[in-house]
Amino acid sequence: MRVRVLVSPKQGILDPQGQAVERALPALGFEGVANVHVGRLIELDVEDPSQVPAMCDALLTNPLVEDYEIVETAPAPHPQPAAHPQHLS
């Protein structure tokens, strides 16, 4: 299973990266943007998706200061070698 973990700074904790982006956008002419937060995306192929929350709590995030959301996307693509290699001439 292909899993995406979306990590974001916890609500209420100062997010200077988000603030910097929020300040930069109007300078480029993009108006009407608010509540910008910058987090991280971790993608992983796992055999057992039920283990992902424990992985998040133990290593992938710091639950004290970060929130996370787990999104299961699609079965992991297994690259298959071609059974009958074709030699194109």
Partner: protein
Amino acid sequence: MKFGVVRFPGSCDEVDAQLACERVGDAVLLWHADRDLQGVDGVVVPGGFSYGDYLRAGAIARFAPVMESVAEFAREGGLVLGICNGFQVLCEAGLLPGALLPNETLRFVFRQVNLQVVDSGTPFTRACAPGDTLSIPTKHASGRYFSPAPVDVVLRYAPGENPNGSQDDIAGVRNEAGNVFGLMPHPEHAVDPLTGSVDGLKIFESMRASLTSRVAA
């Protein structure tokens, strides 16, 4: 009196920490992959960028074999000092409360700061008088202390000198038992008049005094 200074791949202040310890006692380096603490009386987790600080500062180092022994040592009441990256590692390991976030300015800060001794009753600050000011260099990119719960503050940045946006100007905290202490500034870089201040020596002298009185007790 023997101190052990942990060396992770990516540590860079372990030799200065060792030299600082050697001003008050003996000191050995403890390799991250070894579980043996070599019978040391106190442990220093030094500054640097352990394991490259990939993911988050200190997040990977807490799983090093030596950290299992350090955690055990701390649980038994051993004195553990975490400096800068060492502070981050101790927080990630749950040996100290809170977390260290990227600086408010998003910039690496490198400057001499004045620290107010809030708690001079700890094994790490007993050579200080209450209200003492220590001049110690600080250098980090992720030093913004945050804790959702009240913590035992040992050191604060002097008013107006908070270099990173730390909550309540917190520069150093201890655990509830008082035997684990972490701070962002670098006392090991302030032990020789050559570098402008010897105030950092008070931290190491405090540890020596605490360990000496323990042995005598």
